[in-house]
Symmetry: C3
Subunit: 366 residues, 3 copies
């Protein structure tokens, strides 16, 4: 009897349907208020979401390619090299990179190195008084070669362990100040940047349509007079980042060149222009200036008359410019595409809040 009652109860429950009781108010006053509220909500959705917030637009990320070309001549006059001209093939290392270029601004040069024996540079751990202080075969990370086990004269005063190395060794000294290639501040660089928004098949480049060959041959970027010229003077870029070129050139550093494309394809495509900003990327905190700047070593290899390999070692200090392209494009999409796609959420959100407002109102009304 009880089981049967339970069954009946479950069955009854299954076919039970609960619904809130609805009160229908037929009133001119309340009805008008209701419709006005609805009209306001619709106006809000159309006006605010669609027109102002551009919620109906579709966006796409940028696909970009960057090439650079530096121009300029520097003159140096040193006892080692005499009067010497430096051109782009000498000071851009390596000659091409993907989104970056390096300009040599200062250097320490060691000429005519050969694989031979010479005394180590005096430093803790390399000083000696007799051969017993030196260990044949020892190769210290801070050293310049492999020790031969001999203790030899470095200068009239110092004796250091002899090493097999590229001799003569580079002298561990501060870079020249003012920098050797101080002329680098007047070098210019042409930055060519092509962008593409694959979704909308939209292409553009930073050499704008009105820029012709004549203009490009003599223009230099200036935020006020020549904002569309894609040729930048190195000093101007560094100055815009609130740095001093000659100071930065001594130890080197890293600069960021930011190109921003924010295009609204509802507007004429000629309104879609790049904006350039410059920023120093490496830290130059005066308090925490351990290992400052940017330098690296490279060599040019030669063979002398006896078919022996010699090289010129260069410790190069300079500025690396990293070109970074940012950008988003927005385009109108038709309503049907929209409702089937991702932007749906925005509308749904607005729809929900509409329901909420209405409920609030309706709760207050009775």
């Amino acid at each position: 009897m009880k089981t049967r009652g339970c069954c009946a109860s479950i069955c009854q429950c299954f076919f039970e349907y609960s619904t809130p009781k609805i009160l229908v108010i037929r009133s001119f006053k309340v009805g008008t208020l209701n419709r006005i509220t609805q009209a306001l909500v619709i106006a809000y959705v159309i006006g605010y979401v669609c027109v102002l917030n551009k919620g109906y637009q579709d966006t796409d990320a940028v696909l970009s390619s960057v090439t650079t070309k530096v121009k300029g001549i520097a003159l140096t006059n040193t006892s080692d090299l005499g009067l010497r001209i430096w051109d782009v093939a000498d000071y851009v290392i390596p000659p091409q990179e993907e989104n970056s270029f390096f300009v040599l601004t200062n250097l320490l040069i060691t000429l005519n190195q050969t694989q031979s024996h010479c005394p180590e540079v005096p430093k803790t751990g390399f000083d000696c008084t007799s051969d017993r202080d030196c260990k044949a075969g020892s190769r210290d990370t801070r050293g310049n070669g492999v020790q031969t086990g001999k203790c030899v004269k470095y200068s009239a005063v110092d004796k250091t362990c002899e090493v097999l190395a590229w001799c003569p060794l580079e002298l561990d000294k501060e870079p020249p100040n003012p920098p050797m290639l101080a002329d680098a501040e007047n070098f210019t660089v042409l930055i060519k940047n092509s962008i593409r928004y694959p979704k909308f098949n939209f292409n553009k480049r930073n050499i704008l349509p009105y820029v012709n060959k004549t203009y490009l041959e003599q223009c230099v970027f200036n935020r006020i007079t020549d904002p569309d010229c894609p040729i930048f003077r190195l000093k101007d870029m560094v100055t815009e980042a609130n740095e001093d070129f000659q100071t930065m050139a001594v130890h080197g550093g890293v600069m960021g060149v930011q190109i921003r494309w924010e295009c609204d394809l509802d507007m004429p495509s000629s309104w879609c222009v790049p904006r350039y900003t410059f920023r120093r990327l490496d830290n130059k905190d005066p308090v925490n200036n351990v290992a400052p700047g940017y330098n690296f070593r490279f060599a040019k290899y030669y063979k002398n008359g006896n078919n022996e390999e010699t090289r010129t070692l260069i410790k190069g200090f300079g500025i690396r410019f990293d070109v970074m392209v940012f950008g988003q494009v927005t385009v109108v999409c038709d309503w049907i595409v929209l409702t089937c796609m991702t932007k749906k959420n925005i509308y749904n959100e607005e729809k929900y809040s509409y329901v909420d407002d209405f409920q609030l109102l309706s709760n207050e009304t009775p």
Copy 2:
């Protein structure tokens, strides 16, 4: 009296509880309709959201490494160099890059430059009739050296200012057409790409498991016959981007090689294969073709018998290939992980719309 009434009123309000009145309909017809609706909604959530939209899956972005290796031989025959072979060490500059490689296709060569004096190339600003037209020490960005202040003979007709520079100067002429390394169209490149989805500990590379050494030694990518061969003929890549290789090779350019990995780890891992697409990245708009192509200057340095430095300057035109890897992987997650994690929102959204549909119906029913 009034204050006390107000207090009592607030107190009453605080303990007041409003709830909609519920009408319970015990009807076979309405109850059945109710349950059918619920069943439809559940079927929709399971069928559409879970199976079709894969809302239950988790995703991860790709971690990628790219290495490339170009192969091929080009032959040139010029009055300067005679018959000359170019191999990979000659035409890939620099020899290795992170996600990119450059192939030299055309060049202007200036042999045996030394640091010396020579007349500037005739151009506006460098022409002169007497020494008074030249300013010693002047270094124009468009020039090739530092002026000595002398006006010297450039040719039988022209006189230009003398400069200290790498002499003889490079002649400012158009690159050869057809390109010097026209053979480059038959060069092949092996692109090795390893991907990793750290979240799922899933690794794969574009040399698929069934590809053996013998196949790899002779295959060339072809979208129909060899879609899994990771060796690409340069001409094929350029042709797929709707460009002509020989035309592009004259002035150079930038190509994008896109590798897309879109893997569903619910499926066998052998279904997870890369798709390759090719696209020209730099602009070649015929209307706006100021500063077209891609070129840069580099030099090879020698020392002659007198220990004097000489160099061969090369203005190299060529194609830079930027390899871009895209990819997303999706994997099933168990229900508990899911509800605790980000995908929650999708379910909630569906749950909300379920409530809405039901309300719509319930409002109509009575």
Copy 3:
């Protein structure tokens, strides 16, 4: 009559307003339960969403610059080169890259190549018995030069087609094992990484404030004893990725150095420190090891006494280290900014679930 009735009906419908009937329960018990529930919900929102989930924080992506500097000396002893020292200018190729550096660990060297004629390396397709087997002008992608049409002696046994190429040709053999520059495991690299969160004007670098010059001169990264030292021993990095350095050095490979900055700017800025992880990026699947490792060819060019160009061809095997910087920073924002901005959604979500819980309860109560 009917039209008028319809009009009236539509009109009536327009001014009709439906609202659920509300039951107001004035009960101490139910009211208290209601308020306790509300209090719990508010506590949940403040406690869980704000304090634990930090839903009130704003985030920003990182802007980063990386420079690297390798140090160390390797010694090789071969019949070709004799005893020879390798320093950073010899084994880092190219000398500088944007977010990457390559260290040579093994090599096959071919000395004194000149543009001349020599027999091809014996391989299928290049073997011959008479001149008829060779085709003048033929240039196979797998070959090393352009065939002259002659069949010449390669060794006492083999005859191969003669080619115009950089002769003598490189011998196609396996790289030495153990690797030539086995000493590379003790090389160290200083990785300098500066980051910047533009939105919050927050800068930091991986050389932490307390690190002074003396410490930086002798420290080496160790996860336990020196977790903040930005100088890494190459072997340690490879070992942390569960690889054997000497094995990897034979054929080369690609390593990923991941630097993670996850900073909460609510906390002292000294808590914001980088975390380093190391991972091998290229595949070394023992089953699918076709074309393993990483190598490329490069050359050093010389001119001999007769002004003829000669070169030393190097097939270099080595490890490329790709430095990848990840990071997100979070900062407190004030409430007003918050409600006007993107984080709004989180609150809305919580608000909705609050409504749900409440409804559930309220439905059960009567």
